[in-house]
Amino acid sequence: MDSCNCIEPQWPPDDLLMKYQYISDFFIALAYFSIPLELIYFVKKSAVFPYRWVLVQFGAFIVLCGATHLINLWTFTMHTRTVAMVMTTAKVFTAVVSCATALMLVHIIPDLLSVKTRELFLKNKAAELDREMGLIRTQEETGRHVRMLTHEIRSTLDRHTILKTTLVELGRTLALEECALWMPTRTGLELQLSYTLRQQNPVGYTVPIHLPVINQVFSSSHAVKISPKCPVARIRPAGKYMPGEVVAVRVPLLHLSNFQINDWPELSTKRYALMVLMLPSDSARQWHVHELELVEVVADQVAVALSHAAILEESMRARDLLMEQNVALDLARREAETAIRARNDFLAVMNHEMRTPMHAIIALSSLLQETELTPEQRLMVETILKSSNLLSTLINDVLDLSRLEDGSLQLDLGTFNLFAVFREVLNLIKPIASVKKLHVSLNLAPDLPEYAIGDEKRLMQTILNVVGNAVKFSKEGSISITAFVAKSELLRDSRTPEFFPVPSDNHFYLRVQVKDSGVGISPQDIPKLFTKFAQTQSTATRNSGGSGLGLAICKRFVNLMEGHIWIESEGLGKGCTAIFMVKLGIPERLNEPKLPFMPKVPTNHGPTAFPGLKVLVMDENGVSRMVTKGLLVHLGCDVTMVSSGEECLHVVSHEHKVVFMDVCVPGMDGYEVAIRINEKFTKRHERPIIVALTGNTDKVTKENCMRVGMDGIILKPVSLDKMRSVLSDLLEHRVLFEAI
């Protein structure tokens, strides 16, 4: 060792100090080596660590530092040059790495710091989300509660159950201390405590409805917080502590009439009930918004459920009422039927009972009239006869009228001669009219059909009655009867607006006007004319007798004939005109077949009535053919028989005067033949008379026969007399049937 110019003198290495340095170096190296190992271990463990490269650098730096210190251990004592070399390299490396690390750290540390801020931000966000979750959960809970409540409320249609359930469920959901429902009284001026949750029997508190608090609640559709001190909230006995918060909500009481078809229920009813909800006292709980919403929703649901219950109640009541009415009606109907039956029985009996003695009286009186009588006796008998005739007419009228009213009277329709009816009426009325020196004139329009279809007897009765009245109530002057066909313009009379006659092809309206110059009728009496038993009170009519039924019966007959009857008069002393219109049918020639179906009167001819008459018989049935032939042979005819249509057509000639054809075989053979025969003989006088023999008398057969041009029909089996008369009719009246 060379001496140097140091301040302190060199000292030989002290052993103790050396030793301590040696040990410390050793431990430092150890620590330096183990730190990177730990780092690697923990980094490997944690998957998320972004700055691996930095760690590697750091590790390298530490390792190298440790190496340096380790190598230092060898430099305490004498060491070789290699050791010095290694030491130097180590130191150099360490220097490089540590500088690089220092540079890297400048970049990295700000990044690491920012991670921390992000972490804080995320934590805040998580807290916020947690809070929101909590909120949503509460809302969902509320929704669930509402649904459940609604379900409970709507599962019944009984109003009490609905209300009770509402209160119970609300109380449970919201953990209420008390829940009460105030309903408006009938008068609508007060609210009455109807239901409460806890108290089983609510005392009938009433509270006037026009309190400001109540108005406030009613005017808002939301639940409103009210003071626990107001009358509606004071339903519990006063508690010792702070009462809980109170909320009130209105419940609209909807009525059926509120539900218009396309509108929502109008809340114009202004009838509300009040629901009051109280939180438990001393709980420091507050009404939350979602709880208020729940309450509002429930109130609405309750309103609807109540209205349903109300509707149901009403419909049940209506149904019960209807059933009662039904039963009552049924009973009434049965009673009416019994009454009608009793009356009909009575009438039937009376009919017979009354007419029998009347008949005796009238018959015997008229017989008596025929015998020798003194003038006084004759007078007496005549009076008896007249009175009994009147009585008989009265009986008939009454019975007729009852039958008419029953509706059991039906017209006897038939074809009749219209002119003859009028003439008959004229004939009947002329004697009386001439006694009273009244002139009767009949005017029938030229277009009036001679024949008509209707009820002849009753039409005559009507005309006779009307004309009879005219004669009865006229002391002098003239009666004119006009009859004509009513034309469509005249059909609608402004005076009879309810009468709409509809003319058609086979009906016409007969209009008859009977004008008289008699006492006339005052306008206010006219409506009474047609009511039965009512008589106008003038003395003139009183003396004329009559039961007052005549016109009533006429009116009913006219109505049955689908017509109308009325009387016009300009006043007392100015005469009156009776007018009626009835519907009559027009007889058509084709409606009445003129085929001799069963001639009723057998004309008497000798056995050989038709000598040598050439006749052709066509019949498939052997037996019936033979019988027909036998009949005709017996009558002297010269009979040719054929058994089929073709044969018939072959054989028929102009010599045959009559062809008898069986047409009751199924099929058209007979009709075909008839058509062919018609075709074959173009000249009318050459054609034989074609007669159908059939077992069928229905309309179809008749129509078919007429359609193909047959001249007659005979119903099998034919008797001798029938055949005889048919033949003679046919041969006589041949001309008639050609007209068809």
């Binding site: 049935n621 052997g622 037996v623 033979m626 199924p666 077992g695 099998k716």
Partner: protein, 153 residues
């Protein structure tokens, strides 16, 4: 002459009984009226024709109804119609009545009903045949004994 009278009375009684029991009706009387000198055997001829016809028709109907598959009701109906016509022409009332019932069964296509009616028709027809044959024998006996056939009103 006693024999003739007796026979005639028998004839009248028998005729009356046939009418009473409904075997014959007015039509038969009409047929009897048609019998005269020109056609002395008219009734017998008609009756024989009727019996022939009947047998033929009854056989037709029996064959048609025996068909196991698909009875031709139209054919049966046609035959019944013919039979009805014949029986009403001759005045065989009971046969005719059965025919009317028979037709309604045919329309209803009721095979059982038709078979029953067919049996009835056959029965009635054979009864009638026997009775008429008895009647005709009586007639012949009267004629043989020199008498004339009384007219039954």
């Amino acid at each position: 002459m006693d024999v003739v009278n007796q026979l005639q009375r028998q004839f009248i009684d028998y005729s009356a009984s046939l009418h009473r029991e409904g075997f014959l009706d007015d039509q038969f009387t009409q047929l009897q009226k048609l019998q005269d000198d020109n056609s002395p055997d008219f009734v017998v001829e008609v009756a024989s024709l009727f019996f022939e016809d009947c047998e033929k028709l009854i056989n037709n109907m029996a064959r048609a109804l025996e068909q196991q598959q698909g009875v031709d009701f139209k054919q049966v109906d046609a035959s019944v119609h013919q039979l009805k016509g014949s029986s009403s022409s001759i005045g065989a009332m009971r046969v005719k009545d059965v025919c009317i019932a028979f037709r309604s069964f045919c329309e209803a296509q009721n095979r059982e009903g038709c078979l029953r009616c067919l049996q009835q028709v056959t029965h009635e027809y054979s009864l009638l045949k026997n009775k008429l044959q008895t009647l005709f024998r009586l007639q012949q006996q009267i004629l043989a004994a020199g008498g004339s056939i009384p007219v039954v009103e």
